[in-house]
Amino acid sequence: MAIFNSLQQAISESVKDGDTLALEGFTHLISFAAGHEIIRQKKRDLTLIRMTPDLIYDQLVGAGCAKKLIFSWGGNPGVGSLHRVRDAFQNNYPNALESVEHSHAAMANAYEAGAAGLPMAVFRGYIGSELTDVNDAISSVTCPFTGEKLACVPAIKPDVGIIHAQKADRQGNVLIEGIVGVQKEVVLSSKISIVTVEEIVDDLNTGPNSCVLPGWTVDQIAVAPKGAHPSYAHGYYQRDNQYYLDWDAISRDRERFNQWLEDEILQTGAN
């Protein structure tokens, strides 16, 4: 059953050095506030899973939290590269970073399989792609009825799954609305789940088939207004494009990045 906690408490009680973490949000509802708190608490040796490692993972990698990245598209959307991630890959700065690279279809299916309690995901994928040459986790199974060889990847089952959502009610039931990505799957497949929300409400006030996570599927709920900034929250606020543009220059330069880290993260408190 969900515990309501401060973001600081939620992270410190749930995330351990060496854990496998998934912070999701497919361009929408990205858990920036939670990511920043992980940086602030100096978590180390994390394996970070995310379909689209964008600024949030660039920041976590740059701050030295990660030892490994599992991903399918890495970039600053509409802007360019992830300079901190690249610096880690190419120059081991601030530390070496392993990577496991997939396609979106593979990761979406792997999250789905994790939520479905299966050990692996089966899909029609990777045909002709050389990603199979550089990722040992890609295997295959053969359909016993048709003989077709299908791609197969391990299910994703993070130690801790973190998402941001619009709102929770007082029983800890969570509503996610708009682009829902793989958020439901992350919560259902993770050993421990943390949900940050814009607000707590009396009534989710939603339709019968909306994307709702019951309170007993969530371990920790923390209120984090604007917790997805600079990404956006459907119905609450828009994306802060200037932040994404500015990030390019900040992240290109180790000193500027470290100054940003000090000023904007380490010297600030959690929500």
């Binding site: 497919f26 361009t27 929408h28 379909m51 689209t52 991903f71 399918s72 598209w73 890495g74 970039g75 959307p77 509409g78 590269s81 690249r86 890959f89 190419q90 690279e101 997939h102 396609s103 979106h104 279809a105 979406a108 299916n109 999250y111 789905e112 899909f123 029609r124 994928g125 990777y126 045909i127 002709g128 792609s129 050389e130 990603l131 040459d133 550089v134 077709e148 708009g178 682009i179 829902v180 990505g181 793989v182 439901k184 799957e185 994307c211 956006y232 459907h234 606020y237 828009q238 994306r239 802060d240 494009n241 200037q242 932040y243 994404y244 543009l245």
Partner: protein, 272 residues
């Protein structure tokens, strides 16, 4: 009567014209998204645009910066989860056209969005991949590897240069017809693959037999020599190569208005 237009505009409008009104199009971000929305705002008002973020039948007024902009969801008929998008809608066979951009493309229309190899990387010459120590690390495959096999056909739009048009891609992120042009022959369950490539110089299509990309149409004012110079392999031309029709005034107006509105909206959001 010809309007004034840039090569980039020529490319976008030509790419838009490749789409028709009754298609279901899985749209990649950037050039494909621009072309697909120009199509929707001109000759293909009922085209179904789908983005990998789960937004189905979306009608944005401005171009999305990312695959999952709020505008896509707000203007969509419905929005599904990302696993459902890849399982039911793409793999389920409901996509007529996957519309992709790329960083590198080779003569068999294989796409590379993973790594650019260092020049002295001998593994590339052996037709192998250079992955561990790239010259440039690109964003990765995203949705493209399965869009290319699970959509009924694939359109590609990319600027023409020797940097992008290489004899062999440094890494096959997304298969066109494979390093030997024959990969699809062994996989009857997958789509036809790339059927057209639209650049700022010309239109290319795969040869029906060899699957090698050949130029079928030159944009007005573009010479064969220009295309040869911009292509990293000895490019062939269809004997009956045609001249691409020019954009009309409405198309250019729609494209320019769309780009203006997009720029205004994005800088306004940035200023919040």
């Amino acid at each position: 009567m010809t309007a004034n237009y840039t090569p980039a505009e020529m490319m976008t409008v030509t790419a838009a014209r490749a789409l028709s009104n009754n298609m279901t199009c899985f749209v990649g971000i950037g050039l494909p998204s621009e072309a697909a929305n120009v199509a929707r705002m001109t000759h293909a008002p009922d085209i179904t645009l789908i983005y990998e973020s789960g937004t189905i039948q979306t009608k944005p007024e401005i171009l999305p910066l990312s695959i999952g902009d709020g505008e896509l969801c707000e203007s969509a008929l419905t929005t599904v989860s990302v696993p459902e998008m890849f399982r039911y809608w793409l793999q389920g066979g409901h996509i007529d056209v996957g519309f992709l951009g790329t960083a590198q493309i080779d003569k068999y229309a294989n796409l590379n969005t993973t790594v650019i190899a260092a020049k002295d990387d001998s593994s590339v010459k052996e037709g192998k991949t250079s992955y561990a120590n790239p010259k440039v690390r690109l964003p990765g495959g995203g949705g493209a590897p399965e869009i290319s096999t699970n959509a009924k056909e694939v359109f590609i739009t990319v600027k023409h240069s020797t940097r992008t048009f290489v004899e062999q891609v440094d890494f096959v992120t997304t298969v066109g017809f494979g390093r030997d042009g024959k990969v699809r022959d062994q996989h009857p369950q997958i789509g036809r693959g790339p059927t057209v490539v639209i650049t700022d110089l010309c239109i290319l299509k795969p040869d029906p037999d060899s699957k090698e990309l050949v130029v079928v149409s030159l944009h007005p004012g573009v010479t064969k020599e220009q295309v040869i110079a911009a292509t990293g392999w000895p490019i062939k031309f269809l004997e009956s190569v045609t001249t691409t029709p020019t954009p009309n005034a409405q198309e250019l107006d729609v494209l320019r208005t769309l780009k203006e509105k997009t720029a205004r909206a994005h800088s306004a959001q940035g200023a919040v």
